[in-house]
Symmetry: C2
Subunit: 179 residues, 2 copies
DNA sequence: ATGGGTGCAAAGTATTTGCACAAGC
DNA sequence: GCTTGTGCAAATACTTTGCACCCAT
């Protein structure tokens, strides 16, 4: 959509009211170095595009986004589909992205410098609404304790119909209902 | 594994302490008739195998299970892969099974005559442990209300390491750790 | 008998992989 | 310069579909 802040995440990474020390780029570099992997143009481009906006996306959307901005500004190199997948996996491993599986396809969202949260999923327009719940954390810990289970994370998706879709119950997926 | 109670679900469907009026077979028949669909050998066989034991399974496991019992007892007809997929979808539509997506593949579990519950997922051995929480239902309703969202369901998966895997932290997936 | 169901094989879709060339350290 | 990364195309994994024959109603 816009390519404005493509290089805005250089030093400090602002996020709402919170500001964390290192940008996603820096964080990813750390991860790559710790694994003996290299910091390439493609990886940089991908991290830029992924953390440019905070929203939910899948591999195809990211690829579409990439080709769009590559037409506009001459970013130098394009990134191939396999590389997008490879890098998304690395970003998940690095703890920068969280992967969610919504009806078959993988959906990604920021996991670094972004508070733990869960989702309301509208089954009509596929929109995801985020929410946080402190009680949920307590609940999951309580349950885990009962079963001698060591928790590393969780995923809660409440499905239903969002408020706009509830009104216009005759229309299906609309281009206006962006994720 | 065993083909013992293959036809035990004829009349009353026992489930722990609870007993519901109609068996999965009957319930599925109702659904099929209401949709003008037919009750075939294949569908019967599949429902039998699915509701024989209460566990989590995917399409491949069900198919494997089928071919095994078809070798032992001469059930008459075998069920093809496409039919398994078609029938699983129908069982989900009919509300007899619940579909869950665990890292790409679809996992199914009983939904009929079985209380709503959620899962602890061991990322080491892939075991699923069920649990119930009344608070969770309240929580999800409270959150939904805040967002004008009409809830139809939810899915919570708490991931981590189960107690046995926590002990033997050196071993990976073992044939002993059945789902 | 007749319209839906099944099996087969083939098509999709989403993602991964082998290999030759290119590039980071 | 040596190794890791990338792009391409092909492979893979899972699931769905088109079509000719079959069976429940």
């Amino acid at each position: 959509m816009d390519t404005a802040s493509a290089d805005s995440a250089q030093s400090a990474y602002a996020l709402g009211a919170v500001t964390v020390a290192s940008s996603p780029q820096e964080r990813f570099s750390e991860y790559l170095q710790s694994k003996g992997k290299r910091i390439t143009q493609q990886r940089r481009i991908l991290v830029d595009h992924v953390f440019e906006r905070h929203d939910h996306f899948d591999a195809d959307e990211l690829i579409a986004n990439l080709s769009r901005s590559q037409q506009e500004c001459e970013e130098g190199r394009k990134v191939s589909r396999p590389t997008v997948y490879r890098t998304l996996n690395e970003l998940v491993e690095a703890g920068l992205l969280r992967r969610m599986t919504l009806s078959g396809r993988s959906v990604y969202e920021h996991d670094y410098g972004y508070p733990q949260h869960d989702h309301l999923h509208c089954t009509k327009c596929d929109k995801l609404i985020e929410f946080q719940s402190e009680e949920l954390k307590q609940l999951r810990q309580a349950v885990a304790n009962e079963h001698g289970f060591r928790v590393t994370g969780h995923r809660l998706i409440v499905s239903g119909i969002c408020e706009p879709c509830g009104r216009n119950r005759h229309r299906g997926k609309s281009p206006l209902d962006l994720i």
